[in-house]
């Protein structure tokens, strides 16, 4: 599609007299690109929180099999006996899934909008000045990370591709058996391709976060000349911590430090 003049020639008048369509508040906010960026940001923050705590929780791996398995059990039995076992975890997972869905939907519709805004690409080579690898590859890093998450769930959560997942173990001193999470992780990472995929995907996640975590401040309008120089440092720091933490797990397994 070329750039085509759609409007006929003639006087321009009354361009601001049309009535705005009224929508329910949240839908109204979501109807514009700026609103969608808020959704991207809010869901992004939620998932950043998850990613960080997920990584910190997994550090229990370095406390040995019992430590990690007990932590996993603790998550399973959150608020028990007020709520049945697993319920709270599923509610949290439900929240995360909706965040992910909204993040994806906003990204998809913004991408469509952007494609439509420039139907004919530049025919000569662009010379980007500021846009960096991270900002220009958000869609691709996002899609690969999404694919990784699916694998990751099939592997360690549902055990579809992991024969060790779901097995129970009774640690010394325990009265009842708990899921052998530690063992399944070790099993998983001992498969080199899986470990490599894990490392690559986490580096891409870091790249995604490097732009995303910075972008949030801009999209939310959290702009203060005193702190503007810190936002980039925050994003870099956050992405690095998550990547270093996560990547350390498969490396530790492969190096035999954990196992």
């Amino acid at each position: 599609m070329a750039q085509v003049v759609t409007s006929h020639r003639g006087p321009v008048t009354g361009t601001a007299t049309h009535k705005r369509t009224k929508r329910p508040f949240l839908l109204d906010l979501y109807s514009t690109a700026v609103g969608k960026k808020y959704v991207m940001g809010i869901t992004g923050v939620a998932m950043m929180g998850f990613v960080l705590f997920h990584m910190i929780g997994n550090l229990k791996m370095y406390a040995g099999a019992a430590g990690l398995d007990h932590y996993a059990h603790f998550l399973q039995t959150l608020l028990y006996p007020l709520a049945p076992k697993g319920w709270v975890l599923w509610i949290l997972r439900g929240g995360l899934i909706s965040m992910l869905f909204l993040h994806l939907h906003a990204a998809w519709s913004l991408t469509r909008l952007n494609r439509h805004a420039r139907p004919m690409k530049y025919q000569s080579k662009r010379d980007y000045q500021i846009a960096n690898f991270a900002s220009r590859t958000m869609r691709w890093t996002g899609i690969i990370v999404l694919a990784f998450i699916s694998w990751h769930l099939l592997d360690l959560t549902f055990g579809v591709v992991n024969s060790e997942a779901g097995k129970m173990i009774t640690h010394p001193g325990d009265e009842e058996s708990v899921k052998a999470v530690y063992a399944s992780i070790v099993y998983s990472f001992q498969r080199t391709p899986v470990a490599l995929f894990y490392v690559v995907a986490n580096i891409l996640l870091g790249i995604h976060l490097f732009h995303g975590a910075w972008s949030i401040f801009q999209s939310f309008g959290l702009n203060n000349p005193r702190f503007n120089s810190w936002t980039r440092a925050f994003a870099t720091g956050f992405a690095s911590i998550v990547v270093i933490g996560n990547v350390s797990f498969p490396i530790s397994v492969m190096a035999g430090i954990v196992g």
């Binding site: 808020y38 000569s124 846009a131 309008g221």
Partner: protein, 258 residues
């Protein structure tokens, strides 16, 4: 002291009309003084084309002082060419070297349809201003100009964003064809001033929604700021985003009161 550049090859986008298919046409400028501006080089080329009975290359330009915002051009993949903070009309040939090949394309965005060759229609910007980029102050009723003191810092900040010349480089440079810098600059100008407070939230809502009908979305690349001949900071986009959020809440309350 002036030098002469030799053998400059120009690859220029030619397109007969809005719906026509365009293509690059190559012209060679044998010699040109480096004191000449980029557009003067095109003038010379056009003069030659006319004398040869060919149609001149159409490009938008007017004040040639970097203030009217009429000139455009994507020069070697950069909006307004390689010099930072400079509109095409103020770009001079001393920025180029002998034997350079320079590629010139029109700005591309669905909101900026090509009229002919390198000229595009940027009326979509006017539609954004018409929807709210003003302070309602009809002629005649203004109070004394010194009635409201405005701190120098606020006035200077407003001036920084008011410096926008509406050239569209931000849209051209944005990988998404977004107009957030243009819209944000006007919002930041008016919303920072005491005079602009009464319409602050209705303005941002109307302008953002008009912008949305025609342009892409901001993904915070920062290319717009780099291309802006007035070097307007993307801070104005952040301010617009913040005001838009506040507007949604403020206007929601106002609607409830009705």
């Amino acid at each position: 002291m002036s030098n002469h550049l030799k053998n400059i090859t120009l690859r220029i986008w030619r397109q007969a009309g809005p719906a026509a298919k365009g293509n690059f046409e190559t012209h060679v400028v044998d010699e040109i003084t480096d004191e000449a501006s980029f557009l003067e080089m095109l003038d010379i080329l056009n003069d030659k084309l006319i004398t040869e009975g060919k149609e001149a290359v159409v490009f938008d330009h007017d004040c040639r002082e970097g203030i009217c915002g009429t000139c455009s051009l994507m020069i070697d993949g950069q909006a307004h060419g390689p010099q930072r903070g400079t509109a095409t009309c103020q770009l001079h040939m001393r920025k180029f070297k002998d034997n350079d090949t320079i590629t010139i394309e029109p700005w591309r965005a669905s909101a900026f349809p090509i009229i002919k060759d390198l000229m595009v229609d940027r009326s979509a910007f006017d539609r954004i201003i018409e929807s709210g980029g003003y302070i309602t102050a009809e002629t005649g009723g203004a109070p004394d100009a010194n009635l409201i003191p405005i701190s120098k810092i606020v006035a200077d900040a407003a001036m920084d964003s008011a410096a926008c010349i509406g050239c569209g480089a931000c849209v051209a440079a944005c990988p998404n064809g977004a107009a957030n810098l243009f819209t944000g600059a006007k919002i930041a100008h008016l919303s920072r001033l005491p005079q602009g407070q009464a319409e602050r939230y209705s303005r941002v809502e109307a302008m953002v929604e008009t912008m949305d009908e025609r342009f892409g979305s901001c993904t915070n690349h920062g290319e717009c700021e780099a291309a802006c001949p007035k070097e307007i900071s993307i801070d104005v986009i952040a301010l617009m985003n913040k005001d838009y959020r506040k507007a949604k809440f403020a206007n929601r309350k106002d609607l409830a009161r009705k």
